[in-house]
Symmetry: C4
Subunit: 257 residues, 4 copies
């Protein structure tokens, strides 16, 4: 029986596709619900889907928990699943539904609980090869990314502090503090440039020009790192691992590894 | 006779250049027609060119269809041509001209039919080496691109949902729904930043900053993939397998490695 | 005598630095002249520098022309210099000064002649290693760049035509023609996004989003090509040419090339 | 005693972490101080932290100066430390505090002195591996970066001069001089595009489009150079020389290649 459930969850393609589809449906519903006109017209319909989804996700979670000890047959394998990222995601995906039943909850928190349904999108991580690839790329480049993020932070602090001192007097509302100036630095160094904040004094413009030319290169580092790691990963997966030919120093046999 | 027509279409450089030029002329005409002043002054002239072009393109299409079975001499080679991308493009390029003659057509649809003349630009795909190169690059990187496009979609959904919840109350008109918020996410993550939508609350700005720094790297993935595949393709085409010619300093034999 | 002049121009570092400095001075003057307040206050001073510069550049040009046949001793070496890019630049750099003396010239054309002094900046190409490197990179990647520029042009035409049809009715002033729409396409696909033109209808925003995500990758191709060619060129210059070890098939001697 | 102090500064992790933390605290304080509300409420508190920090940094500086001759035992090792980048940074980090005590100082200069406390952020360079990596990358690519910065400067001058002549008459306030036009060139070529300055004439838009497509590739060169050097550096550090361990299938000897 247990083995049957386990196979259904892990090997049955129909079940996998059904859960995959249900997740997508939940995300679409979350988006549609944000339109007031749809919320008013289809409110009941959305609630029915929500209840059915939660029931299915709950059954799925309990089954995964129940069959968790089939794979590595240790006592703690259930706890291990419950504390794994995907296990926690599965729990958070259903918890917001049950919490208001257990505790009296503030309306403000209900809003956050509703938002937490967005976590369901990460349940796709179990099925989608794309998300797995990205996940692996991020793990591999973790060190490089943390280095660059630290440097970016230093750069943002430097830029916004300088800009605050140079431009603060001319535009006391937009460069009111280094925090406000930070928003300018983000918009400039990412090259988004919304246009709500920009220097107006000659000194501010000169400083902004220098910061832009020097800084954009650093802000683009994570992009470059992720991009090159991703291209490399895909190439490896496509071409297979490179073989190395070597000769045994003992007996002289040549072979490739 | 059939062979003669086939050679005219496939090997005669003058015919090729003539059709190439006619396509360019049609695109220029399409652009000029969009200016009301030109449409009023040269309307008749444009119509004459249109009629002549359609006649030539129709003859070209029929000839290609007729001579299609010369290349691989199978029964279905004509059907194969008619269903090939370039065959379909050839058909769509002339169809909008004949449809209103066959059926009574709504004025609204006429507008769309006129737009379909834009498809003629893809007829260049037969002649332009540039478009062929790009086409091949896209085919080679199809898998990688579909992975990244899926990840980008997830990222856009996440960003716009979060932003809708954080900024929705402060700007109920610009972040009215997750769909509206999506437009902000596109403008921010592609770094276009028109400036029509941007967060105004401190929380929204902070979230926007984090999304921008983290997300831009992912949105740039297709750019990186296409770019590196293109550079690699060009390098391969230019260099072939690099050979070095050398001369033995001992006996003077010349050979290449 | 001729040899002496030749050496002064090509090997004397002081002369080289003097001309280099004079070019920079001319560029700075051109910039300062654009400020009305400086033009009024220092107008005479600017004119004196201009006259002196032109005299020196004229002498330089005549000397280069005179000594041109020292290098390869052919009859046409002077003509060859006069028609070389740097020779033409040298001529255009001084011509605008003499033209108004020879012909009665319209005031409108005087404005253009004044602008032509900007050409002097390219005289730096003779002295600056940076400009030489960039020039070589551009020459090497000429084919790739022309391919991508053609594709970019097709993409811009496609995007702006589609946008004109979708958004034209809602914003008849900003998307008045495909030409107007072109300006939107440039701002979007280069991710500059000034914010003077952007879609307002839902259909326009959706189309804009798709164009942005798909198109930015192509617009970034020239950037990627120039960047990778430049990095490669610099690496080659730094590391020297890679050596290949090979063995003569005739006598078995091993050597590296 | 001297050796003990030296070890405390260079090998004791607690001391290192304490100074590291103090620097971060100082940066946070600098940011908070820029908010008027915090400056009014916690002004005294900020001043106390400032005094304590300066005392600690002064002691640190004097100790480093005192123990400088322990490492290479030459007479001038103290002078060498005092003139090293990190030594100068250490001095500038505390000097602004003492200067007003020694000389009567203008209020305007006090403002600049306060800003100089920002230099403390660079003291992190001694402790942070991230900043060291970036520093090395910048040193390695110094030549390439200076080449591209010169080319970028030429490009900016060319673009803004042309734009000034083309657009100056239509927008005499925004393109009042080449200097003003420079601000447009920066915003366009870095693709920030705030939207405060953009061409409105057809000629200006056409020129802007050409400049954008051609120029963005060059402005992105530093980004590409830094990015590729950084990725290469990280790869080298992580992989060292890649070794593959293998076992001979014939005799079972294990060895690495």
């Amino acid at each position: 029986m247990k083995q049957k459930v386990y196979n259904l969850l892990h090997k049955n393609e129909a079940v996998t596709k059904f859960i995959y589809g249900l997740i997508i449906l939940n995300v679409i519903m979350l988006i549609l619900e944000s339109y007031e006109e749809y919320r008013l017209d289809f409110g009941l319909f959305f609630q029915i889907i929500e209840v059915i989804s939660v029931i299915i996700f709950t059954i799925e979670y309990l089954c995964r928990l129940w069959t968790a000890n089939l794979q590595d047959k240790f006592d703690r394998s259930r706890l291990k699943f419950a504390l794994s990222p995907l296990g926690i995601i599965d729990l958070i995906a259903i918890l917001p539904f049950y919490l208001p039943m257990l505790f009296p909850i503030d309306l403000r928190i209900v809003r956050i609980l509703r938002l937490m349904r967005l976590v369901r999108i990460f349940k796709l991580g179990r099925f989608s090869k794309s998300l797995k690839t990205i996940n692996e790329v991020l793990k591999e480049t973790r060190d490089d990314l943390s280095i660059t993020l630290f440097v970016i932070f230093i750069l943002l602090v430097l830029s916004s502090t300088l800009m605050f001192y140079v431009e603060g007097e001319a535009q006391p509302d937009k460069f009111a503090s280094i925090g406000h100036s930070f928003w300018w630095a983000i918009a400039t160094l990412t090259t988004v440039g919304y246009g709500d904040v920009y220097p107006v004094t000659a000194a501010g413009k000169l400083l902004s020009a220098i910061i832009a030319i020097v800084g954009i290169g650093f802000i683009a580092l994570p992009t470059g790192i992720i991009s090159s790691a991703f291209v490399e990963k895909i190439n490896k997966e496509t071409n297979g691992e490179k073989k190395v030919t070597c000769q045994c120093p003992n007996c002289g046999t040549k072979f490739s590894v």
